[in-house]
């Protein structure tokens, strides 16, 4: 079984990020790392291929400046190869263009029984690319998959909902989006890191894929404003006079979490 995982390379969330004031988007010109949200998809793909007893995991990614750092992490985890789409003309691409680009990259690899994406990226949070990608590829789409099994040419998934989960089935090939925490992503092994250097990364432009980049001008979405997150208000300190638990309960009730 062959699985293709869409992975995004994002600025390290541990470092202070910066916005480009002319476009109101995150600056992505420094080193990028594998989006943690995608590490779950990579792990799930590796496990599924392992269970199937054959096949390989491939990656597709769209990133500026030919960035491969995040891809290397996923290759070091065990993926076999990658297609990287890197093209200045793609700067400012909206979600739909991204989906078109990724679809073309998936097609370039070809032969996928399953395409995996994260439900949303940790730097953009648009959360629409997986569904658009399925549509462009003409594949059934199963979102919020938290458990996945392959039974012959059928995919069985538990799909996270607000109050539980749905059991769904669909034929392969298909596209699923997985939520964080569905599996425990492995850490790349020392040997895996060494091997990653020699795994093929096919770097292409939008033109190579036959996709028309629309850039800022033609984007179907616009960032109209950016506001600072409100500063965190000081917490409330409750003295426990033996009745502290009641105050905690009423606090949680107020938040409507219990």
């Amino acid at each position: 079984m062959n699985v293709i995982v869409c992975v995004k390379q994002i600025p390290d969330p541990a470092l202070p990020g910066a916005l480009d004031s002319s476009t109101n988007t995150l600056k992505r010109d420094g080193k990028l790392i594998l989006d943690e949200s995608d590490s779950y998809g990579v792990e799930m793909a590796l496990q599924l291929v392992d269970k199937a007893g054959g096949g390989e995991v491939s990656l597709v990614s769209m990133a500026p400046n030919g960035e491969v750092s995040g891809l290397r992490t996923a290759l070091a985890m065990g993926a076999a190869k990658a297609v990287l789409v890197s093209d200045p003309a793609l700067q400012g691409s909206d979600a739909l263009t991204t989906a078109r680009v990724l679809a073309a990259a998936v097609g370039r690899i070809g032969g996928a029984d399953l395409v995996i994406a994260a439900t949303e990226s940790s730097d953009g949070y648009t959360g629409t690319v997986p569904e658009q990608l399925a549509e462009v590829l003409g594949l059934p789409s199963v979102t919020f998959a938290k458990h996945v099994e392959i039974d012959g040419s059928t995919l069985k998934a538990s799909r996270q909902t607000e109050d539980g989960y749905d059991e769904v089935e669909c034929p392969l090939p298909a596209l699923i989006s997985v939520t964080a925490g569905v599996v425990e992503p492995r850490y790349p092994s020392f040997k895996g890191i060494m091997a990653a250097k020699s795994k093929p990364v096919d770097t292409v432009t939008a033109g190579d894929l036959g996709v028309d980049p629309v850039g800022w001008a033609g984007a179907g979405q616009q960032i109209s404003d950016v506001a600072k997150a409100p500063e965190r208000a000081a917490g409330e300190i409750v003295e426990d006079d033996g009745e502290g638990f009641a105050k905690i309960v009423s606090f949680l009730e107020n938040l409507k979490v219990i």
């Binding site: 969330p13 541990a14 492995r186 850490y187 020392f190 040997k191 890191i193 990653a196 250097k197």
Partner: protein, 578 residues
């Protein structure tokens, strides 16, 4: 999300631009190990340290290791992290490929160790001690011993300990009294008590290999009569699996100032089965072959803890608002106060200088062990011998100063345990004591290392420092050049005085510790100066920060060391009791 950001960029810079790690690929042993993946290696190891190891630091401090029913129970999460570390192959990275190792240079292993021990020193000590035993067995074990123990120790399936210390035998290892009695089958029966044994017992692996120093019947007194034995926790069965429990028990745990999670064991050997390594009475000599590598490891712990304390202090200083600055109406973040900035910059500069010294020492150790040209290898060995006591003692002294400054930056919040700043200082405190106290390191430097080659080994280093003085001047960095020149002149004067007073050893010993401190600042200044000259092509923001710390180190910290000359050259008389 972890509160520890692995200093990958600085480690990578120091390895590439100062230690010249790429040149190691010219040595056959390192040609094919994959050094071109260095950047990926450092960032993945750093991620492992930050995500898996760092979260153990607080819980380890609070819970500590406990002795339960004759066995040590490590804090929550320690065993799982060990399994992940082993599964990812980090334990094996620096060892012989023949036994499943990754064949990485020691200097790279030490860079990884800096991040892991910065994440949690108490956790990292377990792999550290195991590394020492692997080195010793690789160099001196016989073929059967190597094929029995190394395939388990190298990947980290089992861990190892070093059993030297006894109540009457601390700095003076020659005083050990543990006995080893030969048996008809060639094995030995080991009896005696060892103290302060790090990870002498734990629940993370299903066997532990103790290396024990002991005396055979009729052995000469002192270090010349010490032999080294393998004493497994479980004796192996015919298939090489852990079999019967050996009579090597942890009978109590010490309560300590820091590294609470690292079990410090009193070990009782009661006719335990043991196997002689190499020849009788050669144990001390064998210890010396791994000494530089192990001592460097402790120096690196000082760097790691300094980095950790620095990051925490920088974050606190950016958040804590107190006092007004520059006529502001509202309280400012304390990082706005020049005095707080001085503390933070001092912390950063000391940490970077210590990191550079450790890397230079590491690369010398690698060249000494792997350069096929005997003359080059000897030269590198001499450099490693000279730098090791400085790397160990200066880096850990500075690690302590940095951790204490970290508390100071926090004010009262540093003194209470809640913020974690105090833990770094408590954990750092041991690093100046074990693996040879810093006093012993200083004595080693002045009485054994300076006289090497009749002073030529030190003179060669001084000449290299002088070349950097000139390059700094030529590059228009006059204040930095002048500061390094001043410190080098002081170091040369101090070295000459010590050489002249060799016939009165107490005079030399009396100046040992201030001499080592002066040497640390001068060598650190040399490397910070070389960093200033190696910024071409580096990331602009990184280069700006490096200029900031390196210039500060050279022009403000290095000159302070000049004031040590009177202490170095005063001799022993002023120290005599009145």
């Amino acid at each position: 999300m972890s509160d520890f950001v692995p200093p990958v960029a600085d480690l990578s810079f120091v390895l590439r631009r100062l230690a010249g790690v790429e040149s190691l690929t010219g040595l056959a042993d390192f040609a094919d190990v994959g050094l071109e993946s260095l950047a990926d290696l450092l960032s993945e190891a750093g991620r492992f340290a930050a995500e898996v190891v760092a979260p153990l630091n607080r819980v380890g401090d609070r819970e500590g290791s406990r002795l339960v029913d004759g066995g040590v129970v490590t804090p929550t999460g320690f065993a799982k992290a060990w399994q992940q570390y082993v599964a990812a192959g980090w334990a094996a990275a620096p060892f012989e490929p023949q036994y499943g190792g990754g064949g990485m240079p020691w200097v790279v292993a030490m860079s990884i160790y800096e991040m892991v021990s910065g994440a949690s020193t108490a956790w990292a000590l377990c792999p550290m001690l195991t590394q020492g035993a692997i080195h010793l067995l690789t160099a001196h074990g016989d073929e059967t011993q190597q094929s029995t123990w190394l395939p388990k120790l190298v990947p980290g399936e089992w861990t190892a300990t070093m059993n030297l210390t006894e109540p009457q035998a601390g700095s003076d290892v020659g005083a050990v009294t543990t006995r080893a009695v030969p048996q008809a089958d060639g094995s030995y029966r080991i009896s005696g008590q060892k103290i302060f044994i790090t990870y002498g017992d734990h629940d993370m692996t299903d066997n532990i290999v103790h290396l024990v120093l002991a005396r055979t019947p009729g052995a000469p007194a002192g270090t010349r009569g010490i032999s080294c034995f393998i004493v497994p926790k479980f004796v192996l069965d015919a298939q090489g699996r852990p079999g019967p429990r050996n009579a090597a028990w942890c009978i109590s745990l010490e309560h300590k100032l820091g590294i609470h999670a690292s079990p410090t064991c009193v070990m009782e050997f009661d006719e335990a089965e043991g196997y002689l390594i190499g020849e009788e009475h050669a144990g001390m000599r064998y210890m010396f072959t791994m000494m530089n590598a192990a001592r460097l490891g402790v120096g690196v712990e000082g760097v790691g803890l300094g980095e950790r304390a620095l990051q925490q202090a920088e974050q606190f200083a950016a958040e804590r608002r107190q006092g007004r600055a520059g006529g502001s109406a509202e309280p400012v973040a304390i990082v706005e106060h020049p005095d707080v900035r001085r503390m933070l910059l001092t912390m950063r500069a000391l940490t970077e200088a210590a990191r550079a010294i450790c890397a230079m020492t590491g690369v010398a150790i690698d060249q000494a062990h792997h350069d096929p040209d005997p003359a080059q290898a000897r030269r590198a060995q001499a450099r490693a011998d000279l730098l090791t006591p400085i790397a160990k003692a200066w880096s850990t002294d500075m690690g302590n100063e940095v951790a204490h400054l970290g508390i100071q930056v926090h004010g009262g919040y540093g003194f209470i345990e809640e913020t974690g700043a105090a833990q770094h200082a408590r954990d750092a405190r041991i690093t100046t004591i074990y693996e040879g106290t810093n006093g012993i390191q200083a004595i080693d430097l002045v009485s054994r290392k300076l006289p090497m080659g009749d002073g030529a080994v030190a003179a060669e280093l001084y000449a290299e420092i002088e070349a950097t003085v000139e390059s700094l001047g030529a590059a228009g960095l006059a204040p930095e050049s002048a500061a390094l020149a001043g410190s080098l002149a002081t170091l040369r004067a101090a070295t000459a005085w010590l050489a002249e007073h060799r016939s009165t050893p107490d005079d030399v010993l009396a100046g040992a510790t201030p001499f080592l401190r002066l040497a640390g600042f001068t060598v650190g200044g040399w490397l910070m100066g070389r960093a200033l000259l190696a910024l071409d092509g580096e990331d602009e923001a990184f280069a700006a920060r490096k200029r900031w710390t390196a210039s500060f180190f050279l022009t403000q910290l290095v000159p302070q060391a000049d004031g040590l000359l009177p202490a170095i050259t005063a001799g022993a008389a002023p120290l005599a009791l009145p």
